[in-house]
């Protein structure tokens, strides 16, 4: 009985291993967001320590940012962002879990290929489906993924007080840039 199943089991284990080997990761991905309004002070921040995992056999893509890692130029703005808007003590993480649509690893070359990434963005305790146009290319053994999308603070239950609403754009544009290496 066991003898019969052994080859199958070995095959399964080998399959699991090879699937595992197609994982690409980064710990220092770059994510920037901006909600500036012309003629007012710049509202922008950047995280240089966003993690991401890209499974090239399926196109699955996941990213996680620790919100406190977003740095602003103005300290008071960073304080307001953390305390009043994203409430980073209560919700320390922002994450994305999705997929590169119709991904085929064999078609990725050093030339940038335009793709769509769709998935769930979780932030401030709320989840919303987002879609983003991205560029994928290979750089040596690594994958390069960059792109952008925009979100509305209200979709994530973040209220911008009336007093500052003129100085903060309704739509926040998010740019990301990941260089993922084989795990």
């Amino acid at each position: 009985m066991l003898k019969n199943k052994l080859p199958l089991l070995t095959l399964f284990l080998l399959g699991a291993l090879s699937a595992n080997a197609q994982k690409y990761i980064t710990k220092n991905g770059n994510v920037k967001f901006e909600a500036s309004v012309p003629s007012f002070e710049e509202v922008a921040a950047e995280s240089k320590s966003t993690s991401a995992v890209f499974e090239t056999s399926t196109g699955d893509f996941a990213a996680l940012t620790l919100v406190k890692g977003f740095r602003f130029k103005v300290a008071l703005m960073e304080e307001h962002f953390n305390e009043n808007y994203v409430e980073s003590d209560k919700y320390p993480k922002a994450s994305f879990k999705g997929k590169v649509d119709d991904f085929d690893a064999s078609q990725v070359t050093t030339a940038e290929k335009t793709v769509t990434i769709t998935g769930d963005l979780t932030l401030h305790g709320k989840t919303k489906r987002v879609s983003s146009t991205a560029k994928i290319s290979k750089s040596g053994a690594a994958y390069k993924i960059s792109g952008s999308f925009s979100v509305k603070p209200e979709d994530f239950g973040i209220e911008i007080p009336k007093i500052v609403s003129k100085k903060v754009a309704d739509k926040v544009s998010v740019d990301y840039n990941f260089l993922l290496n084989k795990q």
């Binding site: 710990k27 220092n28 406190k68 008071l76």
Partner: protein, 130 residues
């Protein structure tokens, strides 16, 4: 006559001081300088990771946004990122030399939380202590 003049001068001086305070102390106050802050906690990297893995909410309320000093062995160096005992990812403002790999070090940084994707605690604005 003289009294009135003094009152005016005092009022203007007060206004300038208040304005300067609002501008420098509130609106454009200096950001935290983690390198110069005194560490609120000192512990080994193994202990910090163990605490986070057993109770994340409690660890978050203990360490989140705090300046902490950790001691551990460098298991990975990549650009400006050091990994301690495969469990804490520490980001520095400058590129780290590869010669630090494998060494036992103490560093100071700000805890920004636990990264579930990488199963790692993250510190930013790190500086080497020894």
């Amino acid at each position: 006559m003289n009294k009135k003049r003094y009152a005016w001068i005092a009022a203007i001086a007060l206004l300038i001081i208040c304005g300067a305070y609002l501008y420098n102390g509130v609106l454009y106050k200096e950001a935290r300088n983690i390198a110069e802050e005194k560490a609120a906690f000192r512990l080994s990297s193994v202990q910090l990771v163990a605490e986070y893995k057993t109770n994340m909410p409690a660890s978050d309320s203990n360490y989140l946004n705090k300046t902490i000093e950790v001691r551990g062995k460098v298991t990975q160096v990549s650009d400006s990122l050091l990994t301690l005992d495969s469990g804490i990812s520490c980001s520095f403002s400058k590129k780290m030399g590869a010669d630090i790999q494998g060494k036992e070090i103490t560093l100071k940084g700000r805890c920004i939380g636990f990264d579930e994707l990488m199963e790692e605690v993250k510190l930013d604005q790190c500086t080497l202590i020894d």
